[in-house]
Subunit: 512 residues, 2 copies
Amino acid sequence: MATSGSLDSLTSKLREIHHLSDAAAVLSWDQETYMPSGSGGIRAEQLATLQTLAHNQFVSPEMETLLGSFLDLETGTILPKHQASLDGTAQALLRETWRDFSRAKKLPSSFVNDLERECSLAQQVWAEARKTNDFQRFLPNLERLVSFKKREADYLGFTDSPYNALLDTFEPGSTVAQLRPLFAELRTHLIRLLDQIRNSTVQPNTSLLTQSFDTSKQVDFGRLVLKQMGYNFQRGRLDLSAHPFTTAFHPTDARVTTRVFENDMPSCLFSCIHEGGHGLYEQGLSPKHYGTPLGEAISLGIHESQSRLWENSVGRSQAFWKYFYPKLQEAFPEQLGTVQAEEFYLAINQVAPSLIRVEADELTYNLHIMVRFEIELEVIEGRVYVDDLPELWNAKMEEYLGMTPTSDAEGVLQDVHWSFGAFGYFPTYTLGNLYAAMLFHQAKKDVENLEQQIGEGNFLPLKNWLNDRVHQWGRQYSANELIQRITGQTLTPQPFIQDLEEKFSNLYQFPT
Amino acid sequence: MATSGSLDSLTSKLREIHHLSDAAAVLSWDQETYMPSGSGGIRAEQLATLQTLAHNQFVSPEMETLLGSFLDLETGTILPKHQASLDGTAQALLRETWRDFSRAKKLPSSFVNDLERECSLAQQVWAEARKTNDFQRFLPNLERLVSFKKREADYLGFTDSPYNALLDTFEPGSTVAQLRPLFAELRTHLIRLLDQIRNSTVQPNTSLLTQSFDTSKQVDFGRLVLKQMGYNFQRGRLDLSAHPFTTAFHPTDARVTTRVFENDMPSCLFSCIHEGGHGLYEQGLSPKHYGTPLGEAISLGIHESQSRLWENSVGRSQAFWKYFYPKLQEAFPEQLGTVQAEEFYLAINQVAPSLIRVEADELTYNLHIMVRFEIELEVIEGRVYVDDLPELWNAKMEEYLGMTPTSDAEGVLQDVHWSFGAFGYFPTYTLGNLYAAMLFHQAKKDVENLEQQIGEGNFLPLKNWLNDRVHQWGRQYSANELIQRITGQTLTPQPFIQDLEEKFSNLYQFPT
């Protein structure tokens, strides 16, 4: 039987196109880390040229011919003459390439250009509007963006809801019909747990985390943790940037960044662990499939599952700090020398409603996501006018988190996502949490003495398990298929809820 | 009269192509500075894709049409209908674009690919051969490279000598007929001066430069000097790399690197000043002409003149150290606190024959260049077999520098240039020295109290003079034209010889 080797001309063209997007990614990384402050203008032009070229090459007649020789370009069905001769890997490669190709072809290039221009404009207006707390200023841009995204959904096609088309961009296969009940079930439990926590007499002393911590020592400690996690510094780097991120140009070059604040020690620490999880995914993808969909992450949700698994299931666990806390005390003897491990563990697991998503804890974070998901849905399905968003936002924040923003800057204007047209993106954050818990539960079954190993600083069994079960497959399977293959279950919030219950009933001392 | 504005379609296409080579330059910079060690393989592929694309776009039918609408593609002559309507700037832009275009078109793409493959191979073999001191190992590659370069000269066309075609790649307009007498005159003086220096009873104490100097303080001092020179850190950076270099992606992003050794203080210091000179040129090019030849440096020789002017005419002058030496003493009080300025000044100006070009002083450096120039000429003009090179090298070293290498590793194998096919490159180093002296002489005439200003740490008058006379013009004028415009003279070694005579007769106390 022929293997993916018979797709050589196609994969070599895909790789060449990928070199262009990789180059753009290097330029973006440089922009966020080392680029001189005075050269933003030209960098935007250089990036635009690379991205346009990559897009044009991907939708070119050459690609059409290459892909069309294997499958029906209208339906994506593999041509009968090839069906018997291509193995599963080759078929998956064709299926996913066709997915990208047909989506790209459905969007007229004039539309893509207009949308990009609008996004680039809207981001600047949004930044100004947030700074000046002026939603009205951003309103016309947001209205245009919503109308663009509705048109995008129409171009892409959908069943049931236009929102599905947008969601599918970030989380292929995910639908409103799947998310609604999932989120509803999750919400009930989260709100119940939040109530129990609020009513607890135990409250953490978080002031120990906001002492003065030397920033370069913080970064050194983050680097130490990354190394121990198995993040390979011969195939990656840790740098500083305004917003932590992970970017990869190949499995041999997957870089992470963090930020660091003298008076907020958890920020750098958990950014490193979080991005390290993303970085391990990128380092674990198959170099053999580089440039093709089989060398790419499945979805934002699965990507986020990797960061959340390391950040929360591992990085906020007792086992993890059994190993690392003495080392942290050693790095910061003045600040933590007399602080008990239990006190520290409670502090980094504080749960408290807040207004800002990116500062939210493991539990309430998901309520922030639900607020956004529901608002996006209303807007994209056309039941709410954009100018009603501030009011709707504040009402939902009050309902779910018991807090009302006093300004739009800390309310509806807080996130950058909508300003670059990313509607349907937020749910993937919570999906990441749910996938993470499912995977970690399974890892505990598959890896002998996993928690004990973590307690001894031995993270390789977990890393190897993730390499084997998740990373190496790229987009060979969909998120749903992969989770089913690994855990035997379809997506469920139960493991996540169970973990929260166990951890927080223990920490905050309430009965489950 | 129409201006270069009427070339809009052409320049916007040129800019787009430039974005690709800029992206490649960012990837190369990254490779030399921050890229993880494990990802060299994929980076080479990404670079090749970008470079091939840039090349293909430059020789594309689209470019042919754009350029052909203004000029005769065979001869480069501007079409009669445009001759009256294009101003000098527009005509220069067309002239230089055509120069690049016709050169690129003359080389068959199969030839270019074969040559690139041979170079990439030869570099690896050369590195191994140098390490193991085994010229025979490199010999077959070098023979193939020489035959490639002869074919290249044939494709490009030449008068008098095939070497002229190669030289023209790096130093447009320069010829063997020009260099031979120039170098002969220079050599006589250099050898005479070298004799006088050797016979002097004054000899510097260079051991003061090889004490232990904290490396990060060395880099800080380099940064201080760069700032004072007027190098703009909002439009550039200083990083570390194995070999110091300058690279620019736009006048707003022109970066320099240095290297630093604990026991060799001048290395980092003069690398910073040298690269700073290159960096100032790149920052001083016209952003308006970015992407076109008018936004590019004229030649390697003129580029080198900028680095050498700062490194030698300025950075090894008494005036410079009048200002900087107290600051250097402050940075390194233990090492230099009791060392007199005169002693330091003599040490950094030591002249002594040596075997390795990159370690040579201001004077003998040019003798190293002449050895290479003469050997290249013999080989390219076919009077010498490649396997005779070690012998020829050693004989010329003995003749010019009075030293014979004891191994090929410190002889004919020392430089990387030939292994990547760069024949005709070396002379530009000495041309840079000669141009630098001519320019500095003129600057002293044009800028009031220049040396006094330098002695007070005021480098802006010199920087502004260079911006105005050299940098802003890009390739509007040829090297010869530019030098003539600025100094009223054609290229002459006299100012350089005069500077050496003045400085070294003073330092080494011999009569002129």
